[in-house]
Amino acid sequence: MKENVAISVKDVGMRFNLNQEHVDNLKEYFIKLLKRNLKYNEFWALKGINFEVKKGERLGVLGLNGSGKSTLLKVVSGVLKPSAGKVQTRGVVAPLLELGAGFSPQYTGRENIYLYGAVLGYKKSFLDEKFDEIADFSGLGEFIEVPIKNYSSGMKSRLGFSIATIVEPDILILDEVLSVGDKKFRTKCEKKIMNMFDKGVTVLFVSHSLEQVQRLCNKAIILDSGRLVAHGAVDKVARIYKNMTD
């Protein structure tokens, strides 16, 4: 991988086995095995994807529902291992995917900051130091000592966003997260993300809002049924996308 490349995606394919019925117990498995009925419908959510994102570039990922956008983000962030091809990233990756989904409901906000922070790979000393900043940014006030199960969904995503963005990542992976919380918090989020942009972070951004992608990104790709159909400067790609969707 070249020095100035932050994300390199080579020939990546992601295959899922779509069983008509989900076989997850032994009895069914053996009956089907004996009847030679273990059929899988192969489904490639991504196929032959090739692109590179240079350091400091902001790449928007466009595509209709089910075109493989989220799968692509999961492959890049390492949650999914591609069935074919290779993904390489350089530096600290901060994936902001479905914020707050990994919280422990019985734990308080404070405890979840440490737990979720540890999941994201932060050290304890780092979390001790940044705790006030995280709590402040989330704007939860005294709710920080209340179990998460009593939070509203907005509060959860605010806390998730605050924890995930406390590092200064080299690569930021955003999946529609700019729609969290109320207007006030959204503005705060955008400001924080813009701030990271200024520091030259590399971004992978998924959104359905073409306007948002044009505003935030300088490059874009279009996915259609798991294939890469366009790649280039954001305005050019946006025009193609408009023609596709109209």
Partner: protein
């Protein structure tokens, strides 16, 4: 396979392991008035019940019978609760595993270690009961470390295997709960072994690695005599084999987990 890279990766997640262990222990006792004290009260109460039923009602008046029962019960409940927690470690943390990359074995190790910690705490009860019933410790008490470590390795191996199987077949949970019941009856927890040996069925103990650990633990703690070397080596071999099998099975399948949970 680059072993060094794996060790380094593991060390990076040391703090996560600590947080997960803390979470498992904390949440286990949250909202109970006595909290962590239950780790001590619960084995004490079961010991009393088992002594009452299998000691007094069966007409045994062995002074140290409660210690005998307690040794068996503490070790066995560590084995059964840690393997049961290990079994659910991957399928139960689906929400987390689907969102952020973390080496998945961390969840299994965390569930085994948190049960190990509560086991170590519950040993306080054994010390207390031992003093009250005037069990005289000898130098051989130090050998208690061996069966405990062997059992830990065994649980980890079994946990990795069960966690992998449970991802693909949820039946494993029910099968394992019956299997642990069988192992518990074959581990001489609340009955003296001579009854079984007397009927010519000593083989039950000779093939049960959990019993071998319990027997050596009793040798060290209760009887104050050197451990049974055959039991020790045999159970150690089983433990290492289970761990190796578990590690390989888990490693080979871990990339498929996410498609099934």
């Amino acid at each position: 396979m680059d072993i060094k890279k794996y060790i380094k990766n593991f060390l990076n997640y040391k703090y996560l392991l600590y947080e997960l262990v803390k979470k498992n222990i904390k949440l286990k006792y949250r909202r109970s008035y006595l909290g962590i004290l239950w780790t001590l009260i619960e084995p004490l109460l079961t010991m009393m019940v088992l002594t009452l039923v299998f000691g007094t009602l069966f007409g045994r008046d062995d002074r140290t019978f409660p210690v005998y029962v307690l040794c068996g019960r503490l070790l066995f409940s560590f084995f059964s609760s840690s393997t049961k927690a290990g079994l659910k470690a991957v399928s139960g943390n689906a929400a987390m595993i689907k969102k952020v990359y973390v080496p998945k074995y961390i969840y299994v190790i965390a569930s085994i270690i948190s049960n190990f910690v509560t086991f170590l705490i519950s040993l306080i009860v054994l010390v207390g009961v031992g003093i009250v019933l005037r069990v005289h410790p000898t130098i051989y008490i130090l050998e208690a470390v061996f069966p405990v470590i062997i059992l830990l390795v065994m649980s980890l191996g079994a946990g990795l295997i069960l966690a992998t199987l449970d991802v693909f077949f949820r039946d494993v949970e029910y099968i394992w709960s019956v299997a642990t019941m069988l192992i518990s009856y074959a581990s001489a927890i609340f009955y003296p072994t001579d009854r079984v040996i007397g009927t010519g069925n000593a083989w039950v103990f000779d093939i049960n690695p959990v019993y071998m650990c319990i027997a050596n633990f009793r040798n060290a703690v209760l009887y104050g005599q050197p451990m049974n070397i055959v039991y020790c080596t045999r159970s150690a071999i089983v433990a290492v084999c289970l761990l190796a099998a578990g590690a390989i099975l888990f490693y080979k399948n871990q990339d498929k987990f996410i498609l099934h949970i």
